[in-house]
């Protein structure tokens, strides 16, 4: 009997001879060079932004700023920290997502899974596109006009001739509109990309369409929903115009009454974006170091959110389909 063959080991990976890029057509070379330049240029801009605010943040962002209430003072030393804007950012993010996620996901579900009559589905698609393309200041003006109607007084508080119109609730409702398009689009694309075979497998087990959507399709697209929501949250915490017009942009959170939760929701406040705007030379706070600190914190939050989006992509095991490797 012959000796057992030695185990087969893979050789060191190497490429055979390749064509030199200098033999490419000139047009291909130009496009190749331009794509490299564009990619590198964007990297430089992003790196400069992060480095600039990392330096400014290290310079001005002190831990006590995170826990002190802001106060109106002409001197930077006496103007406190930005605890209230941080709380306002979190609260607005929660309210905005609580409205935008159900609306965005169910709208996408209806359009993709049911979508009859067809013309109505097309109208819904166009509506989302219109919302996506509307500048936030336009949404804010519309929201203020709407919520100043006496009918909506319970969302803020009534005043002669209508309602105040500015509160966490009214601002949350309008700011959710800037998050809906990204949630809708991500959900819709996830639904369209869900393999038909997966649905058929569920139908073949005797499941109804609704059971299939609820138990098979939605779990299959949860990372699309999560990604869309994280992007939407980024839009919400980065918004300024809606917050200035609809949250009142008060330095401190002003509750509307002593009722624990409702008083807060009907109250006014600010977020890190409006705080940074007010504190900057463009605003009337005149506290540029605080503006830098708040902007650095905001950028840190956005970076964390981006990192979170990447992590979400890995929740719940491998994806249904192998994702294309970059640079392959």
């Amino acid at each position: 009997m012959a000796d057992a063959a030695p185990p087969l080991a893979p050789p060191r990976r190497r490429h055979g001879r390749r064509e030199s890029i200098w033999r490419w057509r000139r047009g291909d070379l130009v496009i190749f060079a331009l794509s490299w330049l564009a990619g590198m240029g964007l990297c430089i801009i992003a790196t400069a932004l992060v480095l600039f605010f990392a330096v400014k943040g290290a310079q001005y962002l002190r831990p006590d700023l995170l826990v002190q209430h802001p106060s109106a003072s002409v001197s930077q030393a006496g103007s406190g920290g930005f605890l209230d804007p941080i709380e306002g950012t979190v609260l607005l993010g929660v309210i905005g997502l609580a409205i935008a996620v159900p609306l965005g996901v169910t709208t996408a579900l209806w359009v993709v899974e049911f979508g009859r009559p067809r013309w109505l589905a097309r109208v819904v698609e166009s509506t989302v596109e219109i919302i996506a393309g509307t500048p936030d200041v336009v949404l804010a003006i519309f929201g203020l006009a709407l919520f100043e109607l006496g009918l909506f007084a319970p969302l803020s508080f009534g005043q002669p001739g209508g309602a105040f119109g500015r509160s966490f609730l009214t601002c949350g409702i309008i700011v959710s509109a800037v998050a809906i398009p990204s949630i809708y689009t991500a959900t819709r694309n996830g639904l369209i990309a869900t393999p038909r075979q997966l649905r058929e497998a569920s139908y073949a087990l005797g499941k109804t369409k609704t059971a299939t959507i609820r138990r098979v399709v939605l779990p299959a697209i949860r990372r699309d929903v999560a990604t869309g929501s994280a992007l939407g949250l980024g839009r919400i915490i980065g918004d300024t115009a809606i917050v200035i017009l609809l949250l009142g942009a008060t330095l401190q959170i002003q509750t509307q009454s002593n009722t624990p939760v409702l008083g807060l929701l009907r109250g006014t406040g600010s977020t890190l974006t409006t705080y940074a705007f007010n504190a900057s030379p463009a605003g009337d706070g005149n506290a540029p170091t605080k503006a830098y600190a708040a902007a650095a914190l905001l950028l840190l939050l956005v970076l964390l959110l981006n990192w979170g989006v990447g992590r979400i992509g890995r929740i719940g095991g491998p994806p249904l389909h192998a994702e294309r490797r970059l640079g392959a």
Partner: protein, 269 residues
């Protein structure tokens, strides 16, 4: 004499009892739009047998298979004529979800749901009623289905892991476990091994032979040797027609029709 008569009475019957007919097709044609994909097919499938549908690509095997659990209804342009009877009842009269629980299906590509191994099998058992059963209530049935599919020993310690982490062969056995968990009467299999390696294929073929004891199996396959290994009867389809149906040995060794002879001999296909 009387003793002899008594003896004759207790001698077991020489002829085996005819198998119970589960599914009967009467003059079934299937159309996509106005184009017939399957023409005037009639045959029956019995309890305890494996029937293989063979034929070249585009001959209507898969279409016919998908008509048996009315999955063709998901294709808006598809329609069928003729009658298909499940235990004597017209399948058009059976509610679609009930029919598909009785006539289960395994597809060409393993298609586990993006959930745990347990939940994949449990999904088939859950939501039959308005009250969602608890895990411990369905656990015995899930275990039994995994055991019958020959997967239990490999996954018993990882029932809560994602089913997408299993190998292709394991995923396909999971899909079989999922399909038989509801104890269907018929199991339809659409080229269940075409995406698998030879070792996984052998495992699944063994499994098909075992499953035959409890239900009737209809397998669509491109692989003639596989049909020969697993099937009791073979139906040869060509261009939408059922050309010949008979015991496996006869179809492969002594076919009646010229097309069948040429197809199994590899003249075309």
């Amino acid at each position: 004499m009387s003793i002899l008569a008594q003896r004759i009475q207790i001698v077991p019957q020489a002829e085996p009892e005819p198998a119970v007919e589960r599914l009967r097709l009467e003059d079934v044609s299937v159309f996509y739009g106005g184009t017939p994909a399957v023409r005037n097919v009639s045959f029956s499938i019995h309890q305890g047998e494996v029937l293989a549908l063979i034929g070249p690509s585009g001959c209507g095997k898969t279409t016919l298979l998908r008509t048996l659990n009315r999955l063709t209804e998901l294709t808006p342009s598809a329609s069928h004529s003729g009658r298909i009877l499940l235990d004597g009842e017209d399948i058009d009269e059976i509610v679609d979800t009930d029919l598909r629980r009785r006539v289960a299906m395994v597809f060409q590509q393993p298609n586990p749901f993006p959930m745990s191994i347990f939940d994949n099998v449990g999904f088939a058992l859950r939501e039959q009623s308005r009250r969602r059963p608890r895990r411990h209530e369905i656990a015995p049935d899930v275990d039994r289905a995994l055991q019958r599919a020959g997967l239990y020993r490999e996954v018993r310690d990882s029932l809560d892991h994602s089913a997408l982490r299993l190998s292709g062969g394991q995923q396909q056995r999971l899909c079989i476990a999922r399909a038989i968990a509801q104890q269907p009467e018929i199991l339809l299999m659409d080229e269940p091994c075409s995406a698998l390696d030879p070792r996984s294929t052998a495992t699944i073929e063994d499994l098909i032979r075992q499953l035959r004891e409890d239900l009737a199996v209809v397998v669509v396959t491109h692989n003639l040797q596989q049909a020969r290994r697993i099937a009791d009867r073979v139906a040869f389809m060509y261009l939408g027609d059922l050309v010949e149906l008979g015991p496996t040995e006869q179809i492969f060794d002594d076919p009646v029709e010229v097309e069948t002879r040429e197809y199994v001999a590899g003249v075309f296909g």
